[in-house]
Point group: C2
Chain length 239, copies 2
């Protein structure tokens, strides 16, 4: 750690932040602390909703949203499937859309190097905390080596604050399912047919249907598949 005290000071400022706009300021302060070109927090969830703050060029951010680059961006795709923080070099940039995306990103000032920390929450909540910079591989590797811990920690604090300020997005108050409804959803998520679930739970298929329907209703789902998807996303079932 370069300067433990300066870092702790920023963390404490982050803890005490009480408005979303402060995150913007803090991201600039952190960028200067880490001495990188860009530092970005990017939050993703449900039906393409996004929120972000950081030091990227607003033009680029706008374009990213408009073009739904979310579904092309190898950083998002890669982090979505990894637990560990990811150096951008480890990602798969070889597909055609990914290369076009990369070229455009760099043209908008995004660095050639990057490091992203994936952060996950309940309800399928997913966020990325990213630092990006222009430098050679060795310099970058050394930076990551020394800053890894701080980046992980600060990423989580960012996420915590972002959720705090936007409570609508976080809990989404999915009414809890009854035990039988949980059973039903669980086995359906495991691939059982209705008949199999009914058999497993030793109840009639008609009874099972009642549970599925009430779960569907509680989850605001259009069909069984949708209900199972939402139950999974809300962490209501553990498969």
């Amino acid at each position: 750690m370069k300067d433990g005290l300066a870092f702790i000071a920023i963390l404490e400022a982050l803890e005490q932040a009480s408005e979303l706009t402060e995150l913007q300021v803090l991201s600039e302060r952190l960028r200067d602390y880490f001495k990188v070109d860009h530092l970005v927090y990017h939050w993703v969830s449900g039906a393409g909703e996004q929120y972000g703050c950081g030091t990227y060029d607003p033009v680029w951010v706008q374009r990213y949203i408009e073009k739904e680059y979310l579904r092309v961006d190898p950083v998002v795709a890669g982090c979505y499937q990894r637990f560990h923080p990811v150096d951008w070099k480890m990602l798969n940039w070889s597909t055609k859309p990914a290369q076009a995306f990369q070229a455009e990103a760099i043209a908008h000032g995004v660095g050639n190097q990057g490091f992203s920390v994936p952060i996950r929450g309940p309800s399928g909540q997913f966020a990325l905390f990213t630092v990006s910079h222009n430098c050679d591989d060795d310099t970058w590797a050394e930076f990551i080596e020394t800053s890894r811990r701080e980046l992980i920690l600060v990423g989580h604090y960012f996420n915590q604050k972002a959720l705090e300020f936007e409570p609508d997005r976080a809990p989404e108050a999915a009414r809890a399912l009854s035990p039988r409804e949980v059973d039903a959803m669980t086995f359906l998520a495991m691939g059982y047919s209705r008949a199999q679930v009914a058999n497993t739970l030793s109840i009639s298929e008609h009874t099972l249907r009642v549970y599925i329907e009430s779960a569907r209703f509680k989850l605001g789902a259009a069909n069984t598949t949708h209900a199972v998807a939402r139950a999974l996303q809300h962490g209501l079932i553990i498969v």
Copy 2:
């Protein structure tokens, strides 16, 4: 932070650990460092699979697994739905099964206080990093206040190592879906019927069926609902 250097030393030992058994030793070392009664890492995923290491009484661990307390434990249920680390006091212990569970846990030496960090990964991976202790509320609150950052960080390092040592459990090498298959799964997870999805993608319903079937095959799923559930769990679609 009480003793930054001692903590860093443990983190580095954790980084260099090369065997699962070392995690057991390190959890004891960390317990002593934090001066708590218990410190546990508990990993959960797919079809009730579990793995843990830490300082709980093995008898209790055995019983926990046998009785499937995973599905009763308010700590698991609570953390599964939260992003933030959780003080056990914040959880809902009022249901009958939860109270029975709590009584039994305390009888087996688990502390009256507890703090658990939820950790999530791709593929629906979920883990808990917990410290537990016997003391009054004020003492505990003070401990959490001072140790929160370290607990978050060390929990993530633990998880990283646990994944590293058990690679079978982590990636599960779900073959990637083709773009059209991703589209199909995505809209199905959003509750669209087959007809609606076909319409949205401007393809015939039969073509859509081909995608669903091939996605089903790749995901090893028994039916559409199962396929969507797996696609979600593997982070192959972003809904």
